[in-house]
């Protein structure tokens, strides 16, 4: 087996994650305890759907225009949650999509939420709207014509974040944002009622449904992040004394 150069530490992180994941998941399966920091944004999502129901107005959802990446996986989980709330309260949710390959996945997620709620007859494929490159004006137009009461912008956001948020603010919508794209965090932080910052978007899955897989994953992520924090601290101290062995080791 010919292993590549400079991938040893990389491989170590991957193996360590997988091992920790299976360990923590099995611990939880055997009745282990688990507590997770409260995420306000999840409660805000329910509040938004509740108010939309009261006002008889729809909810708007957008993933942003970013390329298909893992942020969409986190968004799918939250979309399923939002859709199940909407199914429960019979509230309309309009989804704006920029990427074609995400359309069928979105259909599956929402259809599943409606099936699980026993309301598959209320599922409306026409509310899943693919806009391609014209996502932004189409989103602004939709938000203003439908006068949405809630606006969720969760996914790989780019400059469209501020467009959607400020447009929905005109109708006093309750807004929840979430992204790991650092350049857009300022705008969702400034304009939304509650946000998921980076990793919070992913941790929400374990919060919504604490099953062994999700709990195991979040716990394993936590353990490895802690390990990296220790590495950074030790590495900095070592560097201070002119020793860069740790940093070099990581690059191997």
């Amino acid at each position: 087996m010919a292993l590549n150069k400079n991938v040893y530490f990389h491989l170590f992180v991957l193996v360590a994650f997988v091992a920790t994941f299976y360990y923590t998941a099995s611990r939880f399966r055997q009745g282990g305890k688990f507590s997770i920091r409260k995420l306000d944004a999840i409660a805000k999502m329910e509040e938004a759907v509740g108010r939309a129901t009261e006002m008889g107005r729809p909810i708007h959802w957008s993933y942003g225009m970013g390329a298909f990446d893992a942020q969409y996986f986190a968004a799918f989980t939250l979309l399923e949650y939002a859709a199940s709330l909407c199914a429960k309260y019979d509230t309309q949710m309009i989804v704006s999509i920029a990427l074609p390959e995400v359309v069928p996945m979105t259909e599956e997620v929402i259809r599943k939420a409606y099936t699980d709620a026993g309301k598959i007859d209320k599922y409306r494929p026409d509310d899943i709207r693919f806009w391609g490159g014209s996502h932004n004006p189409a989103m602004i137009g939709t938000i203003s014509r439908e006068q949405v009461a809630g606006n969720f912008m969760i996914g790989s956001l780019f400059h469209e974040s501020i467009l959607g948020i400020e447009a929905a603010a005109r109708y006093n919508a309750i807004q929840v944002g979430g992204t790991a794209n650092t350049h857009q965090l300022p705008f969702i932080a400034a304009g939304c009622d509650a946000i998921f910052i980076g990793a919070e978007m992913f941790a929400a899955a374990a919060h919504l449904q604490p099953n062994p897989v999700r709990v195991g994953s979040v716990s394993a992520e936590d353990w490895l992040t802690r390990f990296m924090i220790v590495l950074m601290a030790v590495g900095a101290v070592m560097a201070t004394f002119g020793n860069s062995a740790l940093a070099n080791l990581m690059k191997r």
Partner: protein, 200 residues
């Protein structure tokens, strides 16, 4: 002549989009729908060219493996028939799998290892000390299962660092947003209305 018509159309579309800022109106809605059609049409044309160049031409000239993505593509259309929807999940699985794999390889190296290694600075200047402390403090904010009173102040410090970061990025972005607008105004004033700077 063609150019003049084009510039007038461009101005019509530009002002139509800006008109939303006053309120949602018919003009904006016309432009919005022109854009939706145009953008989907453009995507379709380039998408078709991609399919031809990447898959079809190689497939018919002996590179038989390229039939696979073509077949996968056609499998997506099974979504139009309720009974066979499951067939479309096969290419969807492929899309998701390859994407997840790329993320996994990239995230560990670019977002974890390189960033952590770059944080291992010599703690010999005030700036470096502040930098390392703030980075570590803000990272603790993303520990979800850790909830103890002792870590509270560290997490708070980290939150301040993130707020500074958000504010600074916001301020920095204002600059490029104003540039975008002046760019459109330069089109309207100088190309469409043919004014000259200096009030002519």
């Amino acid at each position: 002549m063609n150019e003049t018509i084009g510039i007038w159309i461009g101005a019509f579309l530009t002002l139509g989009l800006f008109s939303w800022m006053y309120k949602e109106n018919a003009w904006f809605r016309i432009v919005e729908n022109v854009f939706v059609g145009a953008s989907l049409g453009h995507l379709a044309v380039t998408g078709y060219q991609n399919v031809m160049d990447i898959a079809w031409k190689p497939a018919i000239t002996g590179k038989y493996i390229m039939w696979l993505p073509l077949i996968g593509g056609f499998m997506l259309f099974s979504r139009w028939f309720k009974k066979y929807t499951w067939i479309s999940r096969v290419p969807m699985g492929f899309l998701v799998g390859t994407t997840a794999a790329v993320v996994m390889n990239g995230a560990i190296k670019a977002q974890l290892i390189e960033q952590a290694a770059a944080t291992m600075m010599k703690l010999t200047s005030i700036n470096n000390i502040i930098f390392v402390v703030l980075t570590i403090a803000a990272t603790t904010y993303f520990l979800f299962t850790l909830q103890s009173k002792q870590t509270g102040p560290i997490v708070n410090l980290g939150k301040y660092a993130m707020m500074i970061a958000f504010g600074a990025t916001f301020g920095q972005t204002v600059m490029s947003r104003i540039s975008l607008f002046t760019g459109r105004m330069q089109f309207l004033l100088f190309q469409w209305l043919k004014l000259t700077p200096g009030g002519g």
